[in-house]
Point group: C2
Chain length 344, copies 2
């Protein structure tokens, strides 16, 4: 991709913004004013606005060595949209601010923005603003996502009741083993650059770490089927930590069944290759961006019809604590560092 | 302030967020859900939402050597609110994301947040979310400001017509000479640390660079007096550059009168001390955060009543170009780098 290198300085600040947003088309009817003024303006048509923001720093949240810029752009948007979905809301708009050094060419930034726009297009989200600045130290990305929800129809973390079913979308732990694989291949490459990375038959787990998808489809399905979860959160830090957030905020305990946790076959294989417990990957791995939520028991039949949702346990009284029942039938207290306690 | 130092690590990520937001009270009736969930939720009551965002990096946008953390927090919020005001909208909410290294203590962060909350309180704005992360390299601040406006009542940069009056709030150039003064005193301090900075009788210009105020008061006054500007922008990069933005976007030229540009007495004194032209400070200095706007000629009498607003010229046909008439009556083309051309 380095056939032609255009220096950022050759465009200037305003030229760069014009360049990066030249193909930016708005899709949302509510977008009254987009990039190019002091601020953007959005009409809400009587719906409520949902807002979330993330700051991503090179060397802390991503490694450009194995994260292609296009994927980085896509993922930076996806993880923000995931927070909007976790409120049972529909993402509609984003702002993207970047801090960049002149080691980046305009072509490199174009790759990054290709990823941003791909995610916007995938989820019908309008890019409506941002800030572009010089960074002396590393690539800085700040994204704010905005969504909408019908009045009062958002779902928080604090509404779960004892006996509510604990549900999760998709499968867990794949992003974690995907990251371990990328780290291993990076290490091998650093030591012997002539060796090509061995990522064959690992496309699922690699995809899960490099190109996560917010579960907007699950939100739509729940809305269409008239299922109102009692609490909801997205799985960014690992299943244990997220379940404990719901329990703490809802003042409940819980029972989680190890054998119900959905784990992809490729995740299991890779975990065994790395000699780690697949359950541990799901409990503590993080970056899965699935939705974890609770519903009333009477919703069971509806939920059971959706093969993308798994009931993994239920909420309990606080006095019963937050526990996992292992495959062997043993009960362990769930901790945020799932598998440390687990290995005892 | 370093009497007691609490390490950030001692609180942990969630503990730190709880600590920093422990006194966070919401004031806006529309704030349905604030800090602490996946996202915040805002009710708009049929009004339109205005959104702006800024990324501030240590060493690029601020220097902690002469920028006290409390002022930095205040200013970071103020400059974002200024963008909302520049749409003729009322700021209502902000999100604040920070990247911090462990060279910061919890007490230092408290200072920063004191400034954030002071600005929120001053402008009736709710802090509703954010992200707190580790930075290996410098302090990173990303703020998104949200505001509201009655349907269709926002003002963009592109509505000015020939013969509209060109107006500016407050006075210009003070922040620039304030910064020059701080830079000079920093240099003296670095060379001879025993010398105390000489900032006496310079409180106005120092205040303008360290604690700028968004002109929400001007927006309110214009609304109350039923004056709808035809275009508007805030003065962050210097008067010339902002006037040219309005001209370009509105497809007009302009005539600016040098003798009408409002400059504070202290700014003039300091400029003479530094041997720079006060007009040049106003034209190219930046960081004044005043509002620059155009109104129809028939609004003149109303505008003239407000001593915080000065008519500095008028918009012209594109064919007439964008010009400044100097005190001596000469006409010069206005350029974004105002005083370079000016000195020829």
């Amino acid at each position: 991709m380095e056939e032609h290198r255009t220096e950022i300085a050759s465009l200037g600040e305003f030229g760069l913004i014009d360049h990066l947003t030249r193909n930016n088309e708005t899709m949302q009817a509510g977008t009254l004013l987009s990039v190019g003024d002091d601020a953007a303006v959005v009409d809400n048509f009587g719906r409520q606005t949902v807002i979330s923001t993330d700051l991503l720093l090179e060397g802390v949240h991503f490694d450009l060595m194995y994260m292609p810029l296009k994927h980085l752009g896509y993922k930076a948007v996806a993880v923000n949209l995931s927070d909007i979905c976790a409120m049972m809301a529909t993402p509609t708009h984003i702002t993207v601010s970047i801090g960049i050094s002149n080691r980046f060419s305009v072509e490199a930034l174009d790759e990054f923005y290709d990823g941003i726009y791909a995610a916007c297009s995938q989820y019908n989200v309008d890019l409506i603003g941002g800030d572009t600045t010089t960074s002396h130290k590393g690539f800085v990305i700040s994204i704010t996502a905005i969504g909408e929800v019908a009045p009062g129809k958002f779902v928080t973390r604090d509404g779960a009741k004892p006996n509510d079913l604990l549900c999760v979308s998709g499968d867990l732990g794949a992003a974690y083993v995907g990251l371990q694989l990328l780290e291993r291949e990076k290490k091998i490459f650093m030591e012997t650059p002539q060796v090509q990375p061995d990522l064959e038959n690992r496309s699922y787990i690699i995809g899960r770490i490099l190109k996560p998808e917010p579960r907007a489809d699950i939100v739509t399905w729940l809305q269409e089927n008239d299922i109102m979860p009692t609490s909801m959160i997205d799985v960014s830090d690992g299943l244990s930590s997220e379940i404990l957030h719901l329990c703490t905020r809802s003042h409940t305990g819980c029972v989680l069944y190890e054998d119900k946790i959905p784990i992809h076959a490729e995740t299991r294989e890779m975990a065994f290759e790395f000699n780690i417990d697949p359950t541990a990957c799901a409990l503590s791995g993080g970056e899965d961006y699935e939705l974890l939520f609770t519903v009333k028991q009477e919703e069971y039949e509806k939920i059971a019809k959706n093969s993308n949702i798994t009931v993994i346990g239920y909420m309990a009284e606080t006095t019963e604590g937050s526990n996992i029942i292992t495959r062997s039938g043993k009960k362990h207290a769930l901790t945020a560092q799932g598998w440390n306690a687990f290995k005892e």
